[in-house]
Symmetry: C2
Subunit: 219 residues, 2 copies
């Protein structure tokens, strides 16, 4: 049996692994779990004994196939519940993360299966993140980061790769939401900031930092 806490560690290691090829450091995990490095070391030893991660002391950690599958199932549940909260209960996309953090640990394959069906087998969550299937396969959505789009191209906003309430509220303020079209007018040479037109309105200015966190579909 795998505990609530262990599931969280796996999920966090999975997320960190998506950003690098290298082993994940103890400190990086500690930061996201909001614990101290010493606690992480304890847990890594335990997860290693359960064959959910491969870990040699001082050498960082990575998920085993088994650990990755478990992490993907937790992510699947998290994202399905987010779809439920937004599409069925009418929550805003910046309000669902905390609740989904709790719901993702409910244990019932039958429940997940039926929830998926009830929601119409969604491919992605309200932030545009792909939802893994019951075998842990991620759908290939082919989205790009807005920061990789050249001048004069027009794209559709499909998601975000950062979920802080702050960030989502900033997007709302400048008029960015899922489905709007974004026209890249100018890419600034030295800091990669962008001048864009949102849904045909007056042009806006966004930083490279923000552009990196926006997922868009190109035609």
């Amino acid at each position: 049996m795998i505990s609530f806490t262990e599931e969280n560690y796996l999920k966090i290691i999975y997320k960190l692994s998506a950003e690098t090829e290298n082993e994940i450091s103890t400190n990086a995990v500690a930061e996201l779990t909001q614990t101290k490095a010493a606690s992480v070391t304890d847990m890594l030893r335990k997860l290693s004994e359960k064959q959910l991660v491969s870990y040699q002391k001082y050498q960082g950690v990575r998920l085993t196939k088994k650990g990755e599958n478990l992490a993907l199932q937790v992510i699947r549940k998290h994202r399905l519940w987010e779809v439920f909260l937004v599409n069925k209960l009418g929550f805003n996309w910046d309000e669902v993360h905390e609740i989904a953090e709790e719901l993702e640990h409910i244990n019932s394959d039958e429940l997940v299966q039926r929830l998926d069906e009830f929601l119409g087998f969604p491919q992605c969550d309200p932030h545009g993140d792909p939802i893994p299937d019951s075998n842990g396969r991620m759908p290939e959505l082919g989205y790009k980061n807005l920061s990789d789009i050249g001048e004069n191209q027009t794209v559709i906003m499909m998601g975000v790769s950062q979920h802080s309430t702050n960030f989502l509220q900033y997007l709302a303020k400048i008029g960015l939401s899922l489905g709007v079209s974004i026209n890249v007018i100018e890419v600034n040479d030295f800091d990669k900031s962008l001048t864009i037109k949102i849904g045909g309105n007056a042009s806006s200015f966004i930083s490279y930092e923000v552009a990196k966190s926006l997922l868009v579909k190109v035609f």
Copy 2:
């Protein structure tokens, strides 16, 4: 803050309190929590310090107003989730208890509020149990036990006061489900067993034990 485990204790003490005017014994709690009496004693002391129960050692326990309110909110969540599982996800009424035991501990007033609305403000769960409102008030449904119905009366089955899978499957086998009409043909004098007609079909025989667990509406 109140923990998962504390919530379970409160819920169990609430249920036991519904069956008696007296203080609840340590052993009774231990049986339902599936723990040992010594563990219950520990927890009762803790709940008492938090003013959720009134407890004097060797004298049993009862909920304070504060403890009762918390218990009612947990029960509210449990029953709302059961409605969701049956009405929206298509589960059978004998499959939902375990899952609702987990869901009932999800913490978000906003979620409960929206779920209630999404379900159409149901008055009772799939077993016919009343759902307390957000102030902890139980709707008065006025159901009676089938064991209190006299000969020649016809009633409608509205619920059960026992939720074991065994029992629910027995009911399914003899053709008893919510909404069917029950005609009491004969009440046996010495063991109070009943001969009944279910939905106008051939007559069936049920024990007093079973009749006590069936909730019915009289016209």
